[in-house]
């Protein structure tokens, strides 16, 4: 924290110096990195390249910790009157940032036809979480979806076709049953599947609800549909995976250790983010596959990850500089570079047509699975009073998964709580 304050002070001083000479425009941006390492190096490299191409602009990335820590720092900075010019924060923080009066819509800066074309150039699935009330508040940058990873050796051992992952809900249960192995005393040595449920179970749950063809909220972010019959049905299926079919461990499954469970062959399949692609590629000691999530009434997954936001209280020169920087970093070439280096889904279709990306996908076809799934993707759950409304759902999901409530009761309670919280936002 103190270091961040120090950096901010340095930025402020540099900013004044810049204003005095009226030559360079300095912009600061908060970027969420939990730990240093490769990603900070990539960002540093990108900003250095940008500064070389645009001598009048200085970009100061400030590494602000996890997404949660970053929004805490950004909003604290807003309240103290010294916000960053731009920041990468969760796409679901949009309503929170609007309600706190912290950000401007990008439309305000858009003047040329070129700018307008750029604003429309991202995959539409990513824009669902970036627009409300007819305005664009977020520019997609590091975005992901949920995919299914499977262990081909485990499939072979169970007498299944290792090249054919389950395509629908019924198949996932059938395949899961064959993959679940028990020792002589009945203890499970290998589970069929793990769908994590710690921390943010709502995100994984949106996979099930989307596949059951039902949305969890309206676009205005003022209404949730937690207690719709199709939502309860989706939760029933998730609960049944462990309680009825016994192909998934009972209780809450930790998000953080699920990839490790997969490497240790404790589970033959897992649902997790595309952001784990590089991790799995490095650590899995067996041939593995990556597939779209199985379908029920349709295919589906929520998107996730972070957007660029434009903060209030910047000078027009700084705002123009921010626009230039964000346009540059989301240009097809840079977006492709970013996607290849990190495993995030490159946010624009043109990025996938670049020679670099084509070469990458040819060598590692799984990288394209997330892109192909985007046509079925929906917005991540996001409403006014976002984290509170989301917590109501999380608590309900965990109550059902640990057997404390029936799915119907859990969703009814979650909806009642969400209604209570959102009452004032509907006025």
């Amino acid at each position: 924290m103190r270091r961040v304050a120090g950096v901010m002070l340095a930025v402020m001083i540099a900013g004044w110096a810049g204003a005095a000479s009226a030559q360079t425009t300095e912009i600061s941006f908060y970027y969420p990195v939990a730990v240093g390492g490769p990603v900070t190096k990539i960002i540093d490299g990108l900003t250095a390249d940008f500064e070389k191409e645009n001598p009048g602009i200085k970009v100061k990335p400030i590494y602000a910790g996890t997404y949660q820590e970053s929004i805490v720092k950004a909003l604290t900075a807003v309240k103290s009157g010294e916000p960053p010019q731009t920041s990468v924060l969760l796409s679901t923080d949009m309503f929170t940032l609007i309600d706190e009066d912290a950000i401007l819509p990008w439309d305000d800066l858009i003047k040329t036809p070129d700018d307008r074309a750029w604003l429309k150039s991202c995959f539409p699935a990513f824009m669902l979480n970036s627009q409300t009330g007819g305005k664009t508040w977020g520019i997609p940058f590091q975005r992901s979806t949920i995919v299914l990873y499977w262990n081909k050796d485990a499939f072979k051992d169970a007498g299944l076709d290792p090249e054919r992952p389950p395509a629908n809900w019924t198949e996932m249960v059938d395949v899961g049953k064959k993959l679940t192995r028990r020792d002589a005393s009945g203890n499970v040595t290998q589970w069929g599947i793990q769908v994590p449920s710690s921390g943010f179970p709502y995100w994984l749950f949106q996979g099930f609800t989307t596949q059951n063809d039902v949305l969890l909220m309206n676009e205005a972010g003022t209404q949730t549909y937690y207690d719709k019959p199709a939502v309860v049905e989706a939760l029933q299926y998730w609960v049944d995976l462990s309680q009825k079919h016994k192909v998934m461990p009972a209780g809450i499954i930790e998000w953080g250790t699920t990839p490790k469970d997969f490497f240790e062959k404790k589970t033959a399949m897992m649902w997790t983010t595309t952001g784990n692609l590089t991790n799995v590629r490095t650590n899995a000691k067996f041939p593995f596959g990556v597939a779209m999530l199985p379908a029920n009434k349709r295919r589906g997954s929520p998107t996730g990850g972070g957007n660029f936001y434009l903060f209030k209280k910047s000078t027009p020169a700084q705002q123009a500089a921010v626009l230039k920087f964000v346009k540059w970093i989301t240009s097809p070439r840079r977006a492709a570079e970013w996607g290849i280096d990190t495993g995030y889904v490159a946010v624009r279709p043109e990025a996938w047509d670049t020679p670099e990306m084509k070469k990458y996908v040819a060598g590692f076809p799984f990288a394209a699975v997330a892109r192909d799934q985007l046509q079925y993707a929906v917005a991540e759950l996001s409403t006014h009073e976002n984290q509170r409304v989301t917590k109501a759902l999380n608590d309900g999901l965990q109550a059902a998964l640990t057997g404390a409530k029936t799915p119907a009761q859990a969703m009814k309670d979650a909806q009642a709580e969400a209604d209570r919280i959102l009452r004032s936002s509907r006025r």
Binding site: G186, S198, G251, E264, Q398, T402
Partner: protein, 294 residues
Amino acid sequence: MRLPVGIRAQVYGWLLLLPALVLLVTFTHYPTVTTLYHSLMSTPKGARPAVWVGADNYHAMAADPVFWQSLRNSAFYALGTIPISIALALLMAVLVNGKLPGRGFVRLAYFTPTILPMIAVANIWLFFYTPGYGLLDQVLGVFGIGSHNWLGSRASALPCLMAVAVWKDAGFFMIFYLAALQGIAPALGEAAAIEGAGRWYVFRRVTFPLLMPTTLFVLVNAIISSFRLVDHIVVMTRGGPDNTSSLLLYYIYDVGFKFWDTSYAAALTMVLLAILATAAIVQFAFLERRIHYQ
């Protein structure tokens, strides 16, 4: 002009007091008063400024099931971790105070958990508790006990977090007991032995009473740390499943920095302050009278 002696003494006294006074007011009293003030206001949102709402936040609290659950969890957590970690600390201190081969090494081993940051400890324990191949399940597996989802089931999540706290705190408290044990004159024990007292009797009637000042100090620390340290919850369960491992301070963090309902968080903070103040008053007003200082 020379001031009268009485006033000069006053000024001198206040000047001596000033550094401590400034620090206490800035970092303790002023924040307490502003927290109380904010707890009686509404949360400002964007263009909407804060307005006076009186006891509204406290009424909301009384009707908030998550608050009551967190409070119950905190009470259970404190009642569980404090006696166990103090008893364990005393036991370890007595053990390494005696003539033990490799005494220095054992002392170091007991103290090591204290030096580690709680976040690191929590990440280590997260893998101890992992179902299937975690350390705990591997050890139990040797005895033919099947794997258990320790952090993922309602009954075991909070006790698992308590075990981490005990593991981390006991070594720290041991150091105080060890220092106190070294300060007790051996003559007292020898005199009692001549009178024919057994080792347990000496501990019960001589050593333990002489350790009471340390016990009070450790108790104060233990209570504070049981309410103050929630880092491991962030790493291991995030209050789940379904709030069964949410402690009061963790809930305050949720409300303040995730929901951005700062005035409600201020009201919750007042409750935490009231609890800690009551504990301090009870300890210093009642317990201290029964303690013998050498």
